[in-house]
Amino acid sequence: MTQWTRRHLLRTGLAAGAALTATQCARNPAPVGTPNNPAPGPEVNTNQIKDVTLRFIGTGVSQINEIRNKAQEDLGIKLDMRALSTEENNQIAITQPNQYDVFDGEYFSLPLVVPSGNLQAIDVSKIRDFDKIVPIFTQNKFDGAPVEQAQGTFPYKVMYLPDQESKEFATEATNWATLIPFQYNADTLGYRPDLVGRTIESWAELFDAEFQGKTSILDIPSIGIMDAAMVVEAAKLMTFGDKGNMTREEIDKITDILKEQKQNGQFRAFWKTFDESVNLMSSGEVILQSMWSPAVTAVKAKGIECVYAPLKEGYRAWGGGIGLSKNLSGIELDAAYEYINWMLDGWVGAFLGRQGYYSAVPENAKKFMSAPEWDFWYEGKPASEDMVDPFGKTLEKQGAVRDGGSFAERMGNVVVWNSTMDEQVYLVQKWNEFIAS
């Protein structure tokens, strides 16, 4: 046997490296027509952005390694992602503008973030597929469905700025956008059919004496208050002028009702993060609660039955998008626009779609989804094969139907969006009293 010297090892390594490089190069032949010449035009641009690193902040929902890796591979830029809670995300967006280049946040955060002046307006004309974005966002239209009348911080309300430098929202569509949407969903109550024993059809059931000590509500004021409003209204305990923008009297009244329910022991717990809600549900501590769609799929992935109930009063929706930091300019800004265009191009939409989120441009996502996947997630048809999430877990068996049905049925029946109200400070104060009471 030959002795492996260091020199030997080096030489072999170099040879192997050279061979690899050669084959790699051979696999990517230069574009036809430009044999020795790097392509002019857009190619120059992409070559330049290769050294750019974009720092993202966002919630755990979309700050996912697979998305980062694919973006880095396709665009050649580097992404640095930070997964935060909804609250931390807003805090950093508002108070630490130098810590991020791209803000991945929710529409209801915008009334807080935009006045800080930390975001720059997005030039809509540079977004290739802007016209294909679901009109809920761009025009507040959706074939006349109830969602057009939905209350709260609906995306269209905070989608546009009157001009590039403005810190106030425009009342109609302009060329300057705040966020470019890429994921959204219709939220509702989740329950354990094995422990509940019947079908849940109304938000009012959350306060049903039958479930005393077995329910939960989420403890993020802007979202929790909307779920609470849906419940209180459905239970005919009170009515609102506008659920999405309550008056002080309405806030007082609803927190009094919530405190009373808490005193009666209606709630088992409150949750703040996605994982907490999954733990509560899968351990059987709670059998009916406000939930987010991936939390339901996470419970199902553990082999536990869980229904994301379509309720007769309608859904509470949320929307997330990408905003650009004021600090971005030059090549970095170009790279960020490249990212947005890539994000709308369909791969991300399909990836998130396999977890139950909707894409801003469904027709693009469709290109990257198999026909059975598209039929199940968007059309509300029975699964013609097992539905597998992007991480390889089987979510639904063949024959299952998505809770709530098709895209149009679910998003069309949205009646409220997560909200930041005029009385936000007062709401947070009263909400804290409810939690602490």
Partner: protein, 285 residues
């Protein structure tokens, strides 16, 4: 020349530490104090000099109740920690003669710190939950017909979690002072005809007092600022000052949170001073 250096030397030596303390302790606390007088307009802080935040705290029934609730936790956790830590430390110090075994057993007391706080908290769910170990046992033996609900997401769970978490901070200082007790004192007491209980009461307890005091300071200050255990073990339903502050920070209400932090700091300092009043740590160390 030589004499000036001699008089200056202590000041020069103390400068680096002073600067570090000023920059990383005194300055941030002063900033918190300043911000607590500012105002908040929904998304940002506005410099001002207003007593609104303090007025809000002292006139709100909820914050008063929250402080009382926190004191309740402090008292309960302190009692249980002391009740558990003293016998444990006593056993380690006086009954384990083998040095190596003593060290091993002492290290075993640190086991709760081998994983993160949050994982430890979550691990309680399968033990205390409705479908948890204890309830399964109780149901199987027919002791109860319905699962016992107050085991988890209750004050009981919060106190249990905190005792589990902070007991070691009580054990370590008590163990330390027990180890310093001159064994001849005990022999002398026994020779003079003292009973075992009298030795404990007249000799060991007074000499262990500094350890108990230091342990109490640890436990009291830690529990006063506690929020993650309160949130996870209380199922988000129980209130403590720390949790109140964290919720306020979460909703960007920094001035209000700062005012609460200032009050919490003052209250905690008063408690620590009260402990130091009872036991002169410096004299007995």
């Amino acid at each position: 020349m030589h004499s000036t250096w001699k008089s200056l030397k202590p000041y020069v030596l103390v400068t680096p530490q002073t600067l570090v303390l000023l920059m990383f302790l005194v300055f941030p606390i002063l900033m918190i104090g300043v911000v607590s007088f500012w105002q908040f307009n929904g998304y940002s802080m506005v410099p001002a000099f207003s007593f609104e935040n303090y007025k809000g705290i002292f006139t709100s029934e909820v914050s008063v109740r929250t402080y009382l609730n926190t004191f309740k936790y402090v008292f309960l956790v302190w009692c249980f920690c002391l009740a558990i830590a003293f016998p444990v430390a006593y056993f380690l110090a006086f009954h384990i003669k083998n040095d190596r075994l003593q060290i091993i057993l002492f290290l075993i007391c640190t086991v709760p710190f081998w994983t993160s706080n949050i994982i430890r908290m979550i691990s309680w769910i399968p033990v205390l939950g409705k479908e948890g170990l204890i309830n399964q046992f109780l149901l199987a033996t027919g002791l109860v017909q319905q699962p016992v609900e107050w085991l988890l997401y209750s004050d009981f769970a919060i106190v249990l979690g905190m005792v589990h978490l902070y007991n070691f901070f009580m054990i370590a200082p008590i163990f330390n002072s027990l180890m310093r007790i001159d064994r001849n004192l005990i022999t002398a007491a026994l020779d003079m005809g003292a009973s075992g209980f009298q030795v404990l009461k007249e000799v060991i307890l007074p000499l262990a007092a500094p350890g108990i005091a230091i342990g109490s300071i640890f436990v009291v200050t830690l529990v006063m600022g506690e929020y993650i255990t309160v949130r996870l073990m209380g199922g988000g339903q129980a209130a403590s000052v720390g949790k109140l502050i964290s919720t306020q920070i979460g909703s960007l209400q920094y001035p209000l949170a700062a005012a609460n932090a200032v009050i919490l700091l003052l209250v905690t300092l008063v408690l620590v001073m009260a402990i130091l009043r009872v036991v002169d740590i410096r004299k007995e160390l």
